[in-house]
């Protein structure tokens, strides 16, 4: 059960992080550069999962992804499959829940990008894709890694949203946090201890990585 839950959690966190990065990169770039009146509204919407109880997000996601919900109905119409209590539904819910943890580090990194370098690259004949990979990405590298790590780790640590949207279906929606909950429910404290300790160690390593990256960035800035 635990091995299956670990694999499922890794899959969920991995897929969510990849999809979130694809969504968050343009969104964070836009937020870092725009002066549009809607910017604070979008920032507030992105940050909502930080302050809202996961059960609230889970409830609305369930409504949205359920067979009578907008997304659920569309999914049934186009694919014949429901989204609630499925791995796909879990990925969509996780993306929303972890969105601020990916967008915010990226936006902070984009804020620090020296725009003159981008303009210099344009004048030297480079088109946007080349400019992104050769000029922008090296400047946001640390923020990018932090966004990936935080997005992955936050998805691993999900409980409320997963329980509401995915339930507890082994091999389909039973991720680590749900498996742990079930171990406690069935009074298997020894295994629950091992699993909890492993999650604590994982969280520590993740945070160490993030803080290590940040302090490296700060010391580099002091030297220059």
């Amino acid at each position: 059960m635990i091995a299956q839950a670990i694999l499922l959690t890794a899959q969920l966190a991995g897929i969510t992080t990849i999809l979130l990065i694809m969504l968050a990169l343009p969104l964070a770039w836009w937020l870092a550069n725009t002066r549009h009146f809607s910017k604070p509204y979008i920032e507030a919407i992105v940050a909502i999962p930080i302050v809202l109880p996961p059960t609230v997000i889970g409830f609305y996601m369930l409504v949205l992804l359920g067979n009578n919900g907008l997304l659920g109905e569309m999914s049934v119409y186009f694919t014949g499959y429901s989204l609630a209590f499925t791995f796909t539904g879990l990925v969509i819910a996780s993306m929303l829940y972890s969105l601020p943890f990916v967008v915010q580090p990226l936006q902070a990194s984009f804020d620090r990008v020296d725009y003159k370098m981008i303009e210099a690259a344009y004048v030297l004949g480079a088109f946007p894709i080349r400019v992104f990979f050769t000029i922008v990405f090296p400047q946001i590298k640390r923020g990018f890694i932090a966004a990936c790590v935080l997005g992955f780790a936050h998805t691993v640590g999900e409980f409320g949203v997963v329980l509401m949207v995915g339930g507890n279906i082994p091999g389909e929606t039973q991720v680590l946090s749900i498996a742990l909950y079930e171990l406690v429910e069935t009074l298997e404290y020894q295994r629950a201890h091992y699993l909890s300790a492993a999650l604590v160690a994982f969280s520590f390593v993740v945070l160490l990585l993030v803080y290590g990256l940040n302090s490296r960035g700060n010391s580099n800035r002091r030297v220059t």
Binding site: D114, K116, E119, A120, V123, L124, F127
Partner: protein, 354 residues
């Protein structure tokens, strides 16, 4: 050859510029901060889009409002050196220069970049990162990076702003040499008058997005055509003309009899700092500059500041009517005491009427 006739509205001013640049010539844009120099450079290289007009370079149209043509900066082949150089911090000197070299084999790229490293004397710094370069070295790398792809025009935005005097002299010489060798037109935004005098073949004075005056450097400096031009060119002593009668003008410094006819629409006279002489006693007035006492310019003023420049003295004086003047006097000024009143005379041959 570059020809531009463009208009662009900013929050501060309406930029309206017509400019022609010829190959191998350095054209300086002079003006105070916020006069539109940088905006013009950004418009020419495509980082900003004008609202009206056209830009042509060597027969190629880069921008045409009527045809709705606006080539992006990547397709203009115009080199730009930014004020703070905008070197790529994460790339070595070699990679910075190589960034703009395209469409050649790796061997050719290496050869071209190495040649430029040699030209700017930085072969030893090939693998060094910009943060470990001095201001002058950064400037040379930025210059080589802009020139390595053989642009049709080179634009420089305040290239000497962050450099000390000695380095400026060296880099002015380097820039002139590189420009003459490449034979391309160069437009350089400057605020330092000495840089413009020593570097540029032609000068344009800019204020509030408009070209006030354009011409050969020496001519523009010697004969500003407006009050704003004269102020941009550092003329300190600007006096309003209250009346004109043939060759005579009446100013705050009294009557001046000039040695040429004056346009009746003239409004101001400009007095170079060196046009003044100290009148040590009324007996000697006749001897100074050969100006006749009758009708000759002559005024009294209190010395408010005196600074020794070696053989000469820079003095600031204030007349009773409140007009302040900047004077450059010879050894005779050694005896001047700040706070005392003295008589001064003006050599009319150096006076400019606008």
């Amino acid at each position: 050859m570059l020809h531009a006739d463009i208009e662009y509205q900013t929050k501060k001013f309406h930029l309206q510029v017509k400019i022609d640049l010829c190959g191998g010539e350095i054209h300086a844009l002079l003006g105070a901060s916020g006069s539109g120099k940088t905006t013009l450079l950004r418009l020419l290289c495509g980082l900003l889009k004008p609202q009206q007009g056209s830009i042509k370079c060597g027969g190629r149209s880069l921008f045409d409002a009527k045809k709705k043509l606006h080539l992006p900066p990547q397709k203009r082949n115009i080199g730009l050196v930014f004020q703070d150089y905008a070197l790529f911090d994460h790339l070595s000197v070699y990679d910075n220069i190589a960034y703009g070299v395209g469409g050649v084999t790796r061997e050719n790229k290496t050869a071209v970049v190495d040649e430029w490293l040699g030209r700017i004397g930085l072969e030893e710094k090939r693998e060094v990162y910009p943060e470990n370069l001095s201001g002058g070295e950064k400037q040379r790398v930025a210059l080589a990076r802009a020139l390595v792809s053989s642009p049709d025009v080179l634009l420089l935005d305040e290239p000497f702003a962050a450099l000390n005097t000695q380095l400026r002299t060296h880099l002015r010489r380097d820039l002139k040499r590189l420009v003459r060798e490449s034979g391309i037109p160069v437009l350089v935004a400057l605020h330092d008058l000495d840089d413009a005098r020593l570097l540029a073949d032609e000068v344009s004075i800019m204020a509030d997005g408009k070209m006030l005056q354009t011409g050969k450097t020496l001519e523009v400096f010697a004969q500003p055509n407006s009050v704003a031009s004269s102020q941009a060119l550092g003329w300190q002593n600007l006096l309003e003309i209250s009346s004109i009668c043939e060759r005579q003008v009446n100013t705050a410094c009294g009557h001046l009899t000039l040695n040429h006819e004056i346009d009746s629409n003239s409004t101001h006279i400009l007095l170079p700092e060196s046009a003044f002489a100290l009148v040590e006693s009324t007996d000697k007035i006749n001897e100074i500059n050969g100006v006749n006492l009758d009708g000759s310019p002559n005024f009294n003023a209190v010395v408010t500041e005196k600074v020794s420049l070696g053989e000469q003295y820079h003095c600031e004086v204030r007349m009773k009517n409140g007009v302040e003047l900047q004077l450059r006097l010879g050894r005779q000024a050694k005896s001047l005491v700040v706070g005392h009143e003295y008589g001064f005379n003006i050599s009319v041959k150096n006076v400019v009427v606008i």
